[in-house]
Every structure is written in structure tokens, then in C-alpha cells.
Amino acid sequence: MSSSRTQAVLAAIPKLIKHRPSCLVRASQHRNYSQSSAAKTTEATAEKWGLAGALYLERLPVITPKMTRLEQEYKEYKLQQEVEQSLLSEYEITKKEEEERLAIQKKNVLDTPLHLRNIPIQTMQDKEELWSKELAQFTPADRETEADKSNDMRSTDRKLDQSLVLLLKQVVDGKEWWYLPTMNYTPGLSMREVAEQALTSNCGTDLKFRVFGNAPSGYQIKNYGREKREETKLNGHKVFIYKAEYRGGPVIPNEDNSVLDYAWVTPKELRQYLGRTTSRVLNKFIIY
């Protein structure tokens, strides 16, 4: 990048976001942070990093989480209190009146003439029976699905009360390892587009998802071992993670990109698939 171009780009920025000073201080302590690219190119000893974009695809929860015992008790107490502190409603009053009327009718059955006995009026009780019958006709779906029982890691129907993350099993440098869908940075694209392509190239174009904003939600720095460092002349690579919401569609792993398997994993199960550092990084922007 030429310096004039960067200056033009800098001039075009209307407002820069204010970084919290602590993280900038920490960042500058580790690396030689310099604004102008001219200084960068002259410092040959500056650390070079490869860039990559990853997508944290999340299937948000479909059903409410189960209530704890305290929540259940409190809910019942509050409902009870609400009933106690309220006045009688129209429905309750008419119901009371009807009950009284029926009681009187039963007493004075012999007094009422034949043609007035047993007039079928639709009382509140009848209405209630009708309504409960109508309700009984509808059976809602189970909260625990088949996928829960069979523990099918590839389906999105598992654990409906929690959010699920898509993880891919890839072969990198001869080793198999689980990670978020990633793609190395290709010049000419923005980082968000790199992340989006990371998903579509690895999992097929039928997936429907939505990324929130142009800025990354997190990042992870991976340092290379000595051999790789000499091979690629890079210290490692930085992965910028973008958060996205899963909207539907199947995941078709692309075997050309050496994607062997995929799994939809809850945040609490992440540790089983990813290493300690990676799961710690991801936990930073998960909101349970």
C-alpha cells in the first residue's frame, strides 16, 4: 500500500471509534505500532502475520430454558398474589349468579311449571367444557426432540433451549482438527466478505445466515512453530471472527477443501472439541 493512498483513506474516515486506552496500551507494548505504512516497510524486523476470517454461525435457541425450582416457586407465588389482590371480573360474577340461580331452580323444581323446567341455557360451565375440549384437540410438540435422544451432532434440532455453533473438522498440515469455518484472506475483499466466503465455500451455498455488521466480534492469534515460521516467513496468523445468525438450510461439507465432518455444538460442549485457548477465546463473546 502506498503512503499517499493510506493518507487519502485516512482523510476519508469521518469519525474513528474511540478505542479504550488500556487495550491500545497493551497492544502497543507487544508490537511496534506505527501509523504510517512507510515506517512499516522499512522495519524489516517487524512481525508479519497471515490473515484469515472465520464465521461463528449460531443457531439461536428455539424454546425457553427450563425454569429452576426457585423460579417456578416464585412464579406460582406471584400468580397467586395477583389473583388475591384483584377484584372479581365480569366472568366470575356471571358464573356466581348462574350457580345461585341453578341452586334456587333445583330447590323450587316442583314449584316451576312443567314448560319452564330444564330450559337448556348455555351456562358458563358448558362454555368452559367446550373450551377445554377445544384445547385438548391441540397437542404441542415435544420439547425434547428425536435428535436429543439419539445425540445426533449434525442436526440443528438438538438442545432447542440452547444456542448451537457450527464447527468443521478440517485437515490442516496433515492433522485433523475442529475449528470454526475459516478461510485465508484474499486481497481485494473486506474481512467480512472473507468470513462469509469461509462458510459458503466450506459448507455449500444453500446455507442462509446473516452477519451482524462489518466489524469483527473477536480475534485469535495463532503462532506458528519454528519449521512453519521458516517456511512461510510469518510469525503466525490472525483469525478475525464474525458472529452470524443461522437462518436455515443444510450444511454440505465441501470435501475439496478437506472438510471431513461438521457438528452443531452447544457453548458448554465446545471444550470437548476445541482446545483450551480457543474455547477461552470464544467464551469471551458468547452470551449465555
Binding site: 474513528l16 426457585l70 410438540a141 463473546f285
Partner: protein, 200 residues
């Protein structure tokens, strides 16, 4: 019509307070011509004054305008809402509230203690929940800011692209999770309707 002199005299004599001295040739002042009218039962009416019809029209128009202006003012007042502080409860409900009291049994001492302890536990629980969520949100925003700083270190151009506004977020909407999941291939029942198809 020429009356006989006898009839003329008769008429003159019949009129009550007629100055009979007129008959006497000695009197020299002018005749007063007092006479009694027939009995009137009310004050005589004012003379009818004919007003110009244009003026009548004008007066009616003015009255119309006045009424219309008052209507407009009332409508304007109707549109301006009453401040909430001035609202009073519905008068009908006040009257009826006494008839609608619930017959509540007095709570036992154990029940009261149980409720008291529940409230205390709930207070602590909800506070902890709130703090946890706030902490998570703070951590996430801090981490996102760090990621942007790291991106900036790598390349300014990518950083500038990352801080662009994305207006499509504004149209985002989401309805929350439900008690039970949606039923797959659910047949929606028809609503209630009146059959109006003609039968031949």
C-alpha cells in the same frame, strides 16, 4: 249616507263624554272630540317595520358562523389529550368496586414467612443474573474493540472497511423463544367464516 237629523242627534247624544255644549251656540273653543274606543284586551302592537332581506340573511349567516366556530373550538379541545396526572379512575368502577371484592382467606403465619423468604431469595438471584449478563455484554464489546485494534495494525484499508456502517442491521427483527418448538408440517385450521356460496 245622509242620515235624518233625528238619527244624527241620537248618535251624538249616545257618545258618552261628548261635550254637549257643542250644541250650545255660546261656546267658542274648538271641539275636543273625546270618545271611547271599544275594549282592547292587550297593549296595541308595535308597527311592523319592513327590514331589507339582505340584512336578514347577513344576520342568519353571522349566527351560523358563530355556532361553527364554537364547534371547531370544541373539536380542537377534544383532540388535545388530557395529561395523565389529571386522569381519574372510571366513575362506574368506583361505584362497582365495593360489589366486586374477593372473599380472601387470611394467610397463615407459615405461608407469610414462606413468601417473605422467597422474595429475599429472588432478589439475590435476579441481581446475580443481571450482573452476569452485564459482565458478558461488557466482555464481548471489549473483545470486539480489541479485534478492531488488531485489524488496524494489519492494514488500514481493512480497518476502514470494518468500521463502515451497515444499515441493513436496522431492519433486523426477532421474536423470542416459545414454550414449545413449532410443529413440523402443521396444518393450520380454517378460521370461522360464513358460507355464502350459492346452491343451485
Amino acid at each position: 249616507m245622509a242620515l235624518s237629523s233625528f238619527k244624527q242627534c241620537n248618535r251624538i247624544l249616545q257618545a258618552g263624554s261628548f261635550n254637549k255644549l257643542l250644541c250650545n251656540s255660546f261656546h267658542t273653543c274648538k271641539p275636543q272630540y273625546f270618545h271611547e274606543s271599544g275594549t282592547l284586551n292587550a297593549m296595541p302592537m308595535k308597527r311592523k317595520v319592513k327590514i331589507d332581506p339582505r340584512i336578514i340573511l347577513e344576520r342568519e349567516q353571522k349566527k351560523k358562523k358563530k355556532i361553527e366556530n364554537e364547534l371547531m373550538k370544541l373539536e380542537r379541545l377534544e383532540r388535545t389529550l388530557k395529561p395523565v396526572d389529571e386522569f381519574d379512575s372510571q366513575r362506574r368502577l368506583k361505584r362497582v368496586a365495593s360489589e366486586r371484592t374477593r372473599e380472601n382467606t387470611e394467610l397463615t403465619r407459615e405461608e407469610k414467612l414462606k413468601r417473605f423468604h422467597l422474595e429475599k431469595k429472588w432478589c439475590v438471584y435476579s441481581y446475580k443474573q443481571y450482573k452476569a449478563v452485564c459482565g458478558q455484554i461488557n466482555q464481548a464489546t471489549k473483545f470486539a474493540a480489541e479485534a478492531l485494534a488488531e485489524l488496524r495494525k494489519e492494514s488500514e484499508e481493512l480497518y476502514v472497511q470494518a468500521i463502515q456502517e451497515d444499515p441493513s442491521i436496522l431492519s433486523y427483527s426477532k421474536s423470542g423463544p416459545t414454550e414449545t418448538p413449532p410443529i413440523k408440517n402443521y396444518q393450520f385450521p380454517d378460521g370461522e367464516y360464513n358460507e355464502v356460496t350459492k346452491v343451485w
